[in-house]
Amino acid sequence: MDKDDIGIPNNSKEPRISEIINEINVRKSLRSTTRLTILLMLSLNKTMTFSNLVEVMGISKGSMKNHLDLLEEDGLIKGKEVLTLRGPRLIYEITEEGKKVYLEITRLLSQDTKL
């Protein structure tokens, strides 16, 4: 199948919004607007620091940690500490499982014409 950089299939079929809803609802960690947004952001940006996520989402560090922990427990993202010139940083990235979920969601979204 022909795909572009963000993994969107170029040939579309019938719109099936219910499939997207089911795909999201089947995973508890994705039943949150914030967590789904974080998954989409990590899918497109590949890696983001904990601080960047807190700043962009505009929520507290504690709340962000809870959201990230849930996504990590579900195997969709993983966090790792890296040493930078500005000291140690907590970086999050999408996992292979997370990529699959993202691609499935974008595949279904690209087929849908009326969100």
Binding site: I8, T34, T49
Partner: protein
């Protein structure tokens, strides 16, 4: 326990939130881009001056183009790295979010094509009447034209990301275009007075570098980042 657990019925809200947050994150990436090129423009201006006053002989003919090319390659590598997420978001915005992108970008494109037209005319006229200084002129031209093309695509990328050109886009785009024009004109008008050409070009690109660093600060301010990482 986190909040907002729910069953989905409306994905529009999710995509709207994602678009707003990602656009905010991209401000950080654009800030890095402006900072990289702002710094490079200033280095473009002052490294040749340092070479001029510290090194003599034939080696300078190699060093002048070498430092420009090395800086340009460094800038391109960093730009490519910075822009990968931006390109992915722009594709996502067009194909998934299906946000209307303004097709009429002539207001931004015309100044660039106009610059190309003026440069082309002047180069043709110059190359037919006087062969002196052609080497140095074409070295500048090759770099300037390449940077102009890159800047054009960057501005177009910003417009796709935000559906408009923010103030930092105007500042960077037009200061860049003006500096390209000044570089070329000074090379043509004062072709025998190299120290004057170097002075004019160094000042104009330093000013452009300062504009770009200011654009970087504006973009970073729009991102709203802290400095504690």
């Amino acid at each position: 326990m986190t909040n907002q657990d729910e069953s989905y019925t409306d994905l529009t809200m999710v995509l709207d939130l994602f678009e707003a947050k990602e656009q905010r994150y991209l401000k950080l990436l654009y800030s890095k881009y402006f900072l990289v090129w702002g710094t490079i423009f200033i280095l473009y201006s002052w490294i040749p001056v340092a070479i001029y006053y510290s090194i003599h002989g034939w080696i300078t003919y190699v060093l002048y183009p070498a430092e420009s090319i090395a800086l340009t390659i460094l800038g391109l590598i960093l730009t490519k790295s910075i822009f990968k997420p931006i390109v992915r978001f722009n594709q996502f915005r067009i194909k998934i979010i299906r946000r209307a992108i303004p097709l009429n970008t002539w207001g931004f494109i015309v100044p660039f094509y106009l610059t190309f037209f003026i440069l082309g005319s002047l180069i043709s006229y110059f190359s037919l009447t006087n062969k002196t200084g052609l080497y140095s002129l074409f070295t500048y031209l090759a770099l300037d034209v390449m940077l102009l093309i890159i800047d054009y695509y960057i501005i177009k990328g910003i417009i796709i990301s935000y559906s408009r050109l923010p103030i930092e886009g105007y500042l960077s785009g037009f200061s860049f275009g003006i500096s390209v024009g000044i570089s070329i004109l000074s090379a043509i008008l004062f072709q025998k007075d190299y120290s004057l050409i170097f002075t004019i070009i160094s000042i104009s690109w330093t000013v452009t570098g300062i504009f770009w660093i200011f654009s970087s600060l504006l973009s970073y301010r729009a991102y709203g980042g802290s400095t504690d990482g």
